[in-house]
């Protein structure tokens, strides 16, 4: 089985937000929830880079570690998913997540935020693959169809890569070697406790 990861090559990201739009459309994500977003650091200054960020599907995921009801699980492809029927919307995963990935349908109102929602790596949830129940709760399950996450598939500059960690790391490594520079695989050290050695 593959170890699925995301890799963002910040030298290529042009902040077009196509990944965000693709994600929203594919899973019919409601207003106010952003499973993926693009953050621009050092905006208008030297060292400006845009980074598309979603759940990184961490090794030893912090969300899973702190969840009071233990609603997270890791698939055979190392994708971190959660069971919305078990989630109580406490918000602990958001406090622990380094990437701000967990999202909640409502704000405040005595903490009744509703069930947490996050990037599923286009792999649905615990319901049977590609059923209506799964689609309503988690969005489409492209992985079950043999496709990769749509955000990366639709990335016009191929800044955002999704797939087996070893494969996408090799693609990135070759790019950096050819161009002669790179700003690191953003989030990898935090999520996977490793960087891409060039």
């Amino acid at each position: 089985m593959a170890r699925m990861k995301f890799l963002l090559d910040a030298e290529r990201c042009i902040e077009c937000n196509a990944c965000v739009t693709a994600c929203k459309n594919e899973h019919e994500v409601p207003w106010g929830i952003n499973r993926r977003r693009v953050v621009t650091i050092n905006d208008g200054k030297p060292g400006e880079r845009s980074i598309s960020m979603a759940c990184m599907h961490c090794t030893d995921a912090p969300c899973a570690a702190v969840c009071p009801v233990s609603c997270f699980y890791t698939t055979a492809d190392a994708v971190v998913l959660h069971d919305k029927d078990l989630c109580i919307g406490c918000g602990y995963c958001f406090y622990a997540c380094p990437f701000g990935a967990p999202q909640y349908p409502r704000v405040g109102n005595f903490g009744s935020r509703g069930k947490m929602d996050k990037c599923t790596y286009c792999a649905g949830g615990p319901q049977a693959d590609n059923t209506e129940a799964e689609y309503i709760q988690y969005g489409s399950n492209r992985l079950a169809e043999g496709s990769l996450p749509l955000c990366a598939e639709m990335c016009s500059t191929k800044a955002l890569l999704a797939g087996d960690g070893a494969v996408i790391a090799q693609i990135y490594r070759e790019r950096v070697q050819k161009r002669g520079y790179g700003s690191g695989a953003w989030g990898w050290r935090t999520a996977y406790r490793e960087t891409v050695a060039i």
């Binding site: 910040a10 902040e15 937000n17 965000v20 106010g32 952003n34 977003r37 693009v38 953050v39 621009t40 650091i41 050092n42 905006d43 208008g44 200054k45 030297p46 060292g47 400006e48 880079r49 980074i51 960020m53 912090p62 570690a65 702190v66 969840c67 009071p68 009801v69 233990s70 609603c71 069971d83 029927d85 078990l86 989630c87 109580i88 919307g89 406490c90 918000g91 602990y92 958001f94 406090y95 622990a96 997540c97 380094p98 990437f99 701000g100 704000v107 405040g108 005595f110 903490g111 009744s112 935020r113 700003s183 690191g184 695989a185 953003w186 989030g187 990898w188 050290r189 935090t190 960087t195």
Partner: protein, 338 residues
């Protein structure tokens, strides 16, 4: 000469100008990450320069929290929640239970010396008792639902299964959120009702030195509340205030503060809570199992006179004096008049 001066001036001004250009806050840029973002794009360099601070930038969606790219603080919070809190809470609660069990087995129940007098004296009026039980009952539910969030996953979940555990935790969360309000109200009322009798004074030092209450054998002078009870009172009021304030921060997420503030609120809330639970276990023990005659004070409100003289001699003497000095009711007859 003039050209040289100009060149020099430019040289001095250049970094200043550069600084001025980079500093102005672009609207929509979050001001929270301290120290400043370094002018580099490499992830490792940025993380190193921020020394554990948050990596944040500009975002085109309205949700300000989304502008935070990486918050390493989450790792510390996870460590706190899973390790520190579990240990502190576990040791405090189980340690206190073990201590009380040992106490009960070695020392037994503290009796009323000379037996019960049979005559009683009013210790707490209806308002005081009603308020005490409002705080007590809400505290117990808040404590159990709170402990469930930290320990339930390891203790209860394997026993009752995920669906039932989620149902219990969900209801526990609602109870925790809404019962916070009567609990807070009760704490405020407690402060108003009992603060005047709980101001520490010199007698408390003597009482502690002589080891009153549970530990010692002496009977140091005590007014309405002894030093131990004053301790319980201030732990309840001040600890209650701390958990109330931090609790409302958590109940209205991100309304008052950012992610770091939410994490800190949770840390204060949970640590103060588990320590209060341990203290309240001792309070419950001495009020019921640990001491003969003590529970009457909060049930009927009437305590035995000998109990009152033994544990609160100054207060009992004052209350009795009040009774002697009081004018007799108009229809009262002198003893032996009929």
């Amino acid at each position: 000469m003039r050209a040289l001066f100009l060149a020099f001036a430019l040289l001095v001004a250049a970094p200043l100008a550069g600084h001025a250009q980079t500093n102005p806050q672009v609207s929509g840029t979050p001001t929270s990450p301290t120290p400043m973002m370094p002018p580099v794009a490499d992830e490792l360099e940025v993380l190193k320069a921020l020394q554990g601070g948050r990596v944040a930038g500009r975002i085109s969606i309205p949700d300000e929290r989304a502008a935070s790219l990486i918050q390493p603080g989450g790792r510390s919070w996870r460590e706190f929640h899973n390790v520190t809190l579990a240990w502190v809470g576990g040791v405090a609660v189980l340690g206190m239970l073990a201590l009380l069990a040992v106490f009960r087995l070695t020392k037994g129940r503290i009796p009323v010396e000379g037996g019960l007098a049979g005559r009683t004296i009013q210790r707490f009026n209806t308002l005081e008792r009603a308020n005490h039980w409002m705080v007590a009952s809400t505290f117990i539910i808040l404590a159990l639902s709170g402990l469930n969030l930290t320990f339930g996953r390891h203790v209860l979940l394997p026993v009752i299964g995920p669906e039932a555990f989620t149902a219990i935790s969900q209801w526990g969360k609602y109870a925790h959120n809404f019962l916070a309000f009567p609990f807070t109200l009760g704490i405020v009322l407690m402060l108003l009702l009992w603060a005047k009798d709980n101001i520490p004074n010199g007698r408390d030092i003597t009482w502690l030195k002589q080891g009153g209450g549970l530990v010692g054998h002496g009977h140091p002078d005590s007014d309405r509340f002894n030093a131990g009870q004053k301790g319980i009172f201030w732990i309840t009021v001040l600890g209650g205030a701390a958990v109330a304030v931090t609790g409302y921060m958590l109940v209205f997420p991100f309304f008052f503060t950012d992610i770091a503030g939410m994490q800190l609120s949770h840390i204060i809330h949970s640590i103060v809570s588990v320590l209060m639970i341990a203290v309240m276990l001792a309070h419950i023990y001495i009020g019921t199992l640990g001491m003969e005659g003590a529970s009457d004070a909060m049930t009927t409100g009437q305590v035995d006179l000998n109990w009152a003289k033994q544990h609160h001699n100054l207060w009992a003497a004052r209350e009795l004096a009040k009774g002697r000095g009081a004018a007799a009711p108009a229809d009262a007859k002198a003893a032996g008049a009929d």
